[in-house]
Symmetry: C2
Subunit: 299 residues, 2 copies
């Protein structure tokens, strides 16, 4: 993984907590990425395309995928959207992925979630070459991360780590409470934090005394998909709070953190929207460049 | 994975804590395993061999490997020891593993640790077919465990879980403090505990306030390789204590738990020796049978 070069100035909110803004940071990273892509193209070493595989016709998935195509294109990277019907059998999905795995023009493959219920997640990823899994969801990539040799890491936890790094947060020895144990955020985030020598507690819907763990934590990472799960009364004064939530309430995006009360108590906080979200596409694009390097035998 | 059928009677020590004895439990499991192997042989569906690859001439490794060969043979399972010289280049090690991966008579491959320092762990496992990795150390198997679809799990944490199950310990909602984050015990144990809906904190040499975390834990799993790291004064009354330590002190084996003080406070404890240790070979043998099934297309 390429390390993040930009460092953003801190923005102290009027209520005390430093706002870890992703928007501002993303602008710098985007400029760096565009420059890197342009340099590759000048050297005629164009990275391959990102292929997005979309099964079915969910409106939110179509919108997300179309936005991603637009975003990648704006960076100078090729991004193709391939669709399959809602009732596509697993064999057809696997055949598409095998084809893309062996297509030298495709550097990375993204499978749009959620999949129709008849498709088993693991059967889908079993068909993918791990060196094209830019989402970091193939078991081999999950295992490489867990054993301390990360190749591709999901973009959302990477974005959270990049924001901590840009704000100069050291994790060694700190207690991190992670709320949520998904394969795309909570679990990979735990591995990334552990690799930085944090003490990590992974909390979830079956955990008892979530408040007690959150209150003792130096860093709280909320990735449970529950609106305003973390409140100011729950956290330790001076804690650092990462909000991975993206919940739609009355046509607005709100996080898993009750921003107004937490900002009064925390020392640093990521807003929603405008915190971690703006960085995720950038992390995915970096994964795509890494994939292109690996497939060229560079690394 | 085959579920464990034996249930052992509890042995209440005179000092209060129930002793979770592995010796007694292992006898029952061993008899079941021998019967299963004999049944397979009667049906002429003999499972393949375990191949142990030993690089170099460390006396402790040779002894360990020879004991393993003897133990597997006593169960009725074939176990071969293949040795390579201390200075074997990575290419030779990989060629041996590739050969065994494609040898239909070999169902599982175990790489004896530690490897000579010029051999990189990940380069060695990269040569192995994941379906023959009965140690559960190939990235793909680590990732399958982490994503909730375990195929092969390292034998030591499996042995700890089997002992908890045999003693009727429910983990849901309990706080588990794991000391040590190795790829063979701490990390896979965290995944197994998490899959049982425990709240897991992973502690390690860089953690601050280890005592505080241990004191708040319902279950303490010591796998740090530090003699008598956990003492009676550190644990919560009634806690359940798993000792994964195998430390040699004055020619005796002692654990990571100070047994005499902890047994006064804990409700259940695994002794060392005679706790988790006697079960590990049994778990490895079960993994070998699973591997044989997977390679036959059964399962």
């Amino acid at each position: 993984m390429k390390s993040v070069k930009s460092v953003i100035p801190r923005d102290v909110s009027d209520a005390g907590a430093v706002l870890m803004s992703g928007r501002e940071f993303a602008r710098g990273l985007r400029a760096e990425l565009r420059a890197d892509v342009a340099a590759l193209q000048r050297e005629h070493r164009s990275p391959g395309a990102l292929l997005i595989l979309l099964v079915g016709e969910r409106q939110d998935s179509i919108l997300y995928a179309q936005n991603l195509v637009r975003w990648f294109t704006s960076i100078g990277l090729e991004c193709r959207l391939q669709t399959l019907p809602e009732d596509a059998p697993i064999q057809a999905v696997q055949a598409t992925i095998v084809g893309a795995s062996h297509d030298p023009a495709v550097a990375g493959i993204l499978v749009q979630m959620p999949l129709p219920t008849h498709l088993i997640y693991h059967d889908v990823f079993a068909a993918m070459l791990p060196v094209k899994d830019v989402e970091g969801l193939h078991p081999e990539n999950i295992g490489l991360l867990a054993s301390g040799m990360p190749r591709f890491v999901p973009s959302t936890p990477l974005a959270g780590m990049a924001l901590l790094d840009a704000n100069g947060v050291a994790l060694e020895g700190k207690h991190v409470a992670i709320l949520g144990r998904s394969n795309v955020v909570g679990k990979p985030l735990a591995q990334l934090m552990l690799a930085r020598n944090a003490t990590v507690t992974l909390l979830h819907s079956r955990s008892r005394d979530i408040t007690g763990f959150v209150r003792s934590a130096d860093v709280v990472a909320a990735a449970a998909g529950v609106t305003e799960l973390v409140t100011g009364a729950m956290i330790k004064p001076g804690a650092i709070v990462l909000d991975f939530g993206i919940n739609v309430v009355d046509d607005a995006i709100v996080g898993d953190v009750q921003f107004e009360t937490v900002r009064q108590v925390a020392s640093m906080i990521t807003p929603v929207p405008g915190g971690i979200g703006p960085l995720t596409n950038l992390m995915l694009a970096r994964n795509l460049l890494t994939a292109a390097d690996l497939q060229r035998g560079v690394s």
